[in-house]
Symmetry: D2
Subunit: 236 residues, 4 copies
Amino acid sequence: MKTTNEYGATLLETMGTDLSVVNAARVSFDKESDWVSDNDPVEPSHVVLSARDQKLIHYLAKEGHWSPFAHAFLKFRVKAPIFVARQLQKHQVGLSWNEVSRRYVDSEPEFYVPREWRKKAEDKKQGSSDEVVSVDLTYEDMFLDALIGVPLANYNGLLEQGVCPEQARMVLPQSTMTEWIWSGSLYAFSRVCKERLHPSAQRETRWVAEDISQALATHFPVSWQALGPKDSINVS
Amino acid sequence: MKTTNEYGATLLETMGTDLSVVNAARVSFDKESDWVSDNDPVEPSHVVLSARDQKLIHYLAKEGHWSPFAHAFLKFRVKAPIFVARQLQKHQVGLSWNEVSRRYVDSEPEFYVPREWRKKAEDKKQGSSDEVVSVDLTYEDMFLDALIGVPLANYNGLLEQGVCPEQARMVLPQSTMTEWIWSGSLYAFSRVCKERLHPSAQRETRWVAEDISQALATHFPVSWQALGPKDSINVS
Amino acid sequence: MKTTNEYGATLLETMGTDLSVVNAARVSFDKESDWVSDNDPVEPSHVVLSARDQKLIHYLAKEGHWSPFAHAFLKFRVKAPIFVARQLQKHQVGLSWNEVSRRYVDSEPEFYVPREWRKKAEDKKQGSSDEVVSVDLTYEDMFLDALIGVPLANYNGLLEQGVCPEQARMVLPQSTMTEWIWSGSLYAFSRVCKERLHPSAQRETRWVAEDISQALATHFPVSWQALGPKDSINVS
Amino acid sequence: MKTTNEYGATLLETMGTDLSVVNAARVSFDKESDWVSDNDPVEPSHVVLSARDQKLIHYLAKEGHWSPFAHAFLKFRVKAPIFVARQLQKHQVGLSWNEVSRRYVDSEPEFYVPREWRKKAEDKKQGSSDEVVSVDLTYEDMFLDALIGVPLANYNGLLEQGVCPEQARMVLPQSTMTEWIWSGSLYAFSRVCKERLHPSAQRETRWVAEDISQALATHFPVSWQALGPKDSINVS
């Protein structure tokens, strides 16, 4: 029985930098910026975005001028359980999504097993509280058997009897893992992250958003600082 | 145990007609068309699209001039199992989707139980054959128990122990029913239908596409004839 | 010489109400709202959105949950000079645009003549100041002749010599009037208006945004109050 | 008087290759392809797409499975007259556009002067015939003066009198040159090109589409062969 409690997003490719954002905006004035030296004595060739260009990016984000952020792109490979994939799949404006399909694939599925169960929140909109519930199921035996073993046995049973995978998959739980290629603009991914890093987002979904925001912070540090949630550093 | 083998899309609202499509195209020439009488002796006030306007719609569809089809809109309420919802959710360009969430809802779920299981197709890309498999599970007892009873009992058990619904739902199978409001342009829905009425589409998903195409055929008869699959009449 | 200093947007059709927004959001909780009586003694059948539903709309707007606003739609016919159309044409996400084309139309064009010329702003980003410049051109003769008469005579001259309209139009000024059908969701139009009602938007473009926002305010009063600029009442 | 009869699109950046398209599609089957050697005796390390992967790309294009083509991206800087920009601006789904603005820029404008004027077509939908009209204007003097000199003098006159550039620009003809940064997916640009390389497209617009399709052919040779018009080689 293949189980996991780890998943996330892996960056595959990027196009553009913070300077692309700046220059997409500066074209309005028919101007172009360039990197400037930060006078690093150790690495003299090191260049950064000028203070003026950094200010421009913050101005664009603050005023909602999003189009300059839509000329840079990222591509990820994401692995997550289906109930998480379904939440992320809602973000589609400016994003492309191609996913493993259990219509075509009938290999042994893998299942997400949470490290801990969270308590129901008092406020329904909250989704869950931070309190951990010790459920009356032992992870090692009954739990895995009841939650994964039975559906998996049924899935395999259906396949063995010749049932098509596209129907058989309906007996698999929403904790079944899936994978997809996800591409889009810096702007589109910053919207995903902003919404899914929010404290009210489901924690299982936040983990994917954290991986993506990490890539944004590395490759587009100034833009992500300007576009991201103001308290994005300590979200987890 | 709430089960069903029926689901589909219900039309809630529409805006525009085939004439809206015609007039969105005719604006290029600064012209406007109107309905014409079809000289019905029984109902003299009955009006239809002129032959010339019908020809225009077919011309637009054939040449891929899709923008005139994007000024008319439809809104549906759809009910379907999650594995079907996931396929339809891939169509998002120009469509809006708001769905029941089991983060917030913990009422007794309903499950889809197929009337018959289809055999695996020889060609993987086909998804399934037309042949029915008689699976070694009696629908009345073991099947429902193993496929739905066990996951449902586990779901309820987790909820009773105070686990948050947003986590508990992961044990529910992908046959769990969901519902959503789905809105968009005539063009956007015609793309969904064209892809999901295709013989290679999964039959469970085709049922929803058939309901939607029925609404398109009723409210936009000329446009749907022009945009739809050429063999759309006998798709089921 | 056909000139005008008036133009704007005319509402052609709408689908949905503030209640559609509410119910697209409430579907998450599998709930549905309805209109409530406002106990109007004069018109007892008069119904409005409940206080709770009004609060929900403001909450959705504040939190950036835009999808419920994308299940209601509007269609406009807009008339404006080309330099204004070009600014509005930048808003295309979720909007459809079909326009009169001077590739196909060679009727006498109409020109926009401003009632007054505004002074250049000190701050370039501002676009223009509120101060009026009295330009050294008399509107009645030299101005119209130089700015419109000469290009128009050249346009007509080219056409008379057999030049195709698609090329001849390049001599027409950007004050030439055009018309288009513009459709999209309540959300998409609220974004257009929010950006183009901003004090830094060009005044000529603001006029169109004001017409559209008027339609939003009439047909979706609660949503527009929640989505619109906080100072939208006295923008002009 | 700055005039030109040359313009077009310059590729600035790309992300991905034909192999990205293949692997975005193969993820459905949880497979991954790689480049293969073409056994070039001169350059042994030279790699290409396998015959099987080439076939897959053609299959995807033929069946309208466009999402795998939306994980690769291109960025261009385009220079064109306004009447051409307006046609291209209609393509916005999945594309980002940031342009020089004459609200902010008041430098000497440049104008497009056609090398030849084409005759009006018999069929209005055609736009223009291939026949050249020798217009009764000498390019060197009267033409430039009437078509460009007068509007330019008026533009400069308005600016000198303090009129804001955002209003003054309305007297400039639609032959005024503009520039923009244009980014989007391989799929989005292939749609632009397919429509604008069509024989019925305006020739001035086709020039930009030709530059873009050249970049597509260079960087995504298999995909562009599959997505492009079947007669794309001799379009001009």
